[in-house]
Symmetry: C2
Subunit: 171 residues, 2 copies
DNA sequence: CGGCAGGATGTTATCTTATAACATAACGCC
DNA sequence: GGCGTTATGTTATAAGATAACATCCTGCCG
């Protein structure tokens, strides 16, 4: 099946938006996804998901670990990695390979291979699902006789909000 | 301006090929590139490059470290990382983000943003430069108002040689 | 020749990221 | 309640990467 995820041509959110809304909808969707799949969204897992959604910047596993440490006495790495693995399997978070970091998925449930735009200035990352990129990859890989299983598409650069500042900085 | 690298629609080499040839041409090209850029291809750097080219499988920095350890008394991580950084700056090796590993570039000199096909069965990786993928990314990112600086395109899957075996294994 | 400036390498220590292996606890079902 | 399964806790260590400083080499200038 082809990815059914809707393509948002403006993947970066406004700098000022009601972020609590992002979090609550993410948690609601997570509950839905888990209910459908039979996965158990435990307190710990929900907590980790909430932490990942603290901002639109990818978060390292050890950042999450530290944040969890604020709320609980002792937390060890496997705790966090296991929760992240579960969330990833459910399609609720993605891993950004080029950053060794994790970010929440804003359209879980829809099968898709995300494309990530990472701003080197503000650190935010946004997910895209441009069908043309998907199609071009499938095409090129098919010609190469390659069976694609897991694509990784990540773009490092400047987001629309940081572009002007960075350019000013150059002058 | 645009990448001038030639697109090879069959990026994977035959399983049996004269690999010494790959190595010698890679070293020759490296010498040329460094001569042109003014970079100093020292014995150590050449050695690391040669190790990266030992096979068509991406090699971890610590694999290189261990291999170097065979030939020299003591080698420490920074030695290897510095050599790799130099080679990368010269465009002679690429880093595969999703593997934390390095692979030799077979067309250095030509500016390009590589696309990597990684076989999960045999571990080989091949570099591609499909202009359609490049174009699709540039297009999608431009619409998003994003300034692309460093694209990462990696595809995990099955190479043409491993596809049949893996499919047989499923049956 | 002698010395000096830069770049390259050596050395030590440490940091970040991730997982293996095993123990315990919670849950869901009959 | 007992039992199998799943989730979490705990300890230790593997794997990947860099900071900071010392030393050495090399080419160049006087």
């Amino acid at each position: 099946m082809a990815p059914t995820r809707a393509h948002d041509p403006r993947p970066f959110k406004r700098l000022k938006h009601d972020h609590r809304r992002c979090v609550t909808t993410a948690l609601a969707r997570a509950a839905k996804v888990c209910a459908a799949s039979g996965g158990r969204l435990t307190a710990l897992r929900r907590w980790v998901l909430e932490l990942v959604w603290q901002s639109h910047r990818p978060m390292g596993a050890y950042d999450i670990l530290a944040a969890l440490g604020q709320k609980r006495e002792t937390v060890a790495p496997p705790t966090v990695y296991r929760a992240l693995e579960f969330l990833r399997a459910q399609g609720l978070v993605h891993r950004i390979e080029s950053l060794n970091a994790f970010i929440g998925c804003d359209q879980p449930g829809e099968p898709h291979s995300g494309q990530f735009l990472i701003c080197r200035a503000c650190g935010r990352a946004a997910e895209m699902a441009d069908g043309r990129i998907d199609a071009a990859m499938r095409c090129g890989l098919a010609e190469a006789g390659f069976t694609l299983e897991r694509p990784t598409v990540e773009a490092l650069g400047l987001c629309p909000d940081c572009r002007p500042c960075a350019e000013a900085g150059h002058a």
